[in-house]
Amino acid sequence: MGKRVAITGFGQTHHSARRWDVNGLELIQEAVTRALADAQLNLKDVDAVVIGNMDHFEGINYVDTWSVEGSGAFLKPIFKVTTGGTTGSTVGIAAYYHVASGLFDHVLAIGWEKNSESDTTGAIITCSDAIWDRFSYSGAIPSLAVEASAYMKRYGITQQDAARVTVRDRGNAVNNPYAHLRTAVTVEDVMHSPMLTEPIKLLDICPRSDGAAAVIFSSEDKAGKTCPRPAWVHSVSVRHDTTWFGDIDYVGIPSLASAAREAFHLAGIREPWKELDVCELYMPYSFAGLKWIESIGFCAPGQAPRLLWDGETDMGGSLPINPSGGVLSTNCIGATALLRVGEVAQQIMGKSDKRQVPDVRLGMATGFGGCFWSDVMILGADKP
């Protein structure tokens, strides 16, 4: 058993399609400065830094060393972690491991991306196997579309069901001043948006964003000193399966089911739907907002549309999902999963302003990456 660890600070940039005004270093610096201010810490208090992005999206290697002017890691320990879409949650979990080891008191986790600097789909295709998959693999959107095709066929899910997920997330984003897309949409808007790859239309899929997030993890010895209401890490889980696209189960998402099961078990959660107060889930397209909450175990397979249509996952519902507007409103890939972690922590700290869910005691953040792998982090107001 390691030391108990809490999140004591969170900072994010204002996200948009293209931040012409800053280079990558300057973007990172913006998030780090805000996280330090939020935690009421100085850079000298930070013992180590964990950073991640998708190297080839910006064509930059060794982002650890490259980033020091932005990250503040000059002459400090800094480690790079890159795991695709889960990068943000993985840097968060790696920072948690650092502090839990007892060797570090404050560790800064940073996720960032400037998607505007390359062709995101082309860059994502280079994540697939060069010999076997790259010829037919068509990037994130079509690989999610094939997943949707299997799920829709099995459970009779409609495109309108999925559109309801977009309506929720985009509606919530109106309350988030940092979100990239801040206009509410209707089911009709989604249905009438251009078909990109069947059944995914323009408003079913996340945008490509430029942005950065920074989260400070602190040991139990220090957390209470500067932060009146820290967000304690109750459990984490990381699950990878395989990068063979042909080995994936397109009807369920086993990595998320397995990660959620372990994270709930470690946190002592028996009825997640009842016990959790808020979720920030890495769901890059609308159908994930149905299928993947079934894999988490919030309802039986094929039953998610009912929860959505009944408003159970809206603000004010039984379990609000993505008060920030989620990934459908902002997707700066290396930062995206760390935004989920930071947003849940902020909900527990009670600092979420217009997007605040009342009295959050327990929340869940997830990361999703590449070949359908998953990270889960459970955060709580109570010291575990």
Partner: protein, 170 residues
């Protein structure tokens, strides 16, 4: 290399570069056999795990879940069932060529007869014919074979069976 200015604020610049970066990737023993069998006999090979008995395509050295070496190559059918499919309709840069990939096209995951996992490829259909999950398809091989995945030119749909005859097969 070219420098461009922001339309909104021309004082902000960005540099553009198109890089050419050659690679050569080893295909490995079993993968090489897969392509050689296509070249010589137009046959598709899989490999069976000695522990869980699962048959994988394309053949590879290790079963990931069991973490054991595999060496039992098996011949698969060139037909299979579509398990997941989409029609791709938006333009993007193909990193293999540097050019835009021609759209629209259909790509999907096919369960080949005799295999337990799925095989990823493109599916070509006659005009007006769509492909659904559950449809049967067949590999069409390229005339010139170069030891690469495009030696299978594409998969094409098979005529749909009547429900009764399929039920009797099962």
């Amino acid at each position: 290399m070219e420098t461009r200015a922001s339309e909104r604020n021309p004082s902000l610049l960005a540099m553009e570069e198109i890089a050419h970066m050659p690679y050569h990737w080893a295909i490995g023993l079993d993968g090489s056999k897969f392509f050689q069998e296509i070249k010589e006999r137009e046959v598709l090979l899989g490999i069976r795990c000695p522990k869980c008995r699962k048959v994988y395509v394309p053949p590879r050295l290790v079963c990931g879940p069991c973490f054991v070496k595999m060496d039992e190559l098996v011949e698969l059918g060139i037909e299979g069932v579509v398990e997941a499919v989409t029609l791709v309709n938006y333009p993007f840069i193909d990193p293999d060529t540097g050019d835009r990939r021609p759209v629209p096209y259909i790509y999907g995951y096919i369960k080949l007869d005799g295999a337990d996992n799925l095989f990823s490829h493109i599916i070509k259909t006659p005009p007006g014919i769509s492909v659904q999950v559950g449809d049967r398809v067949r590999a069409v091989f390229s005339r010139k074979k170069k030891g690469r995945i495009q030696d299978i030119a594409f998969f094409e749909p098979l005529p749909k069976r009547k429900p009764r005859s399929r039920a009797s097969r099962d």
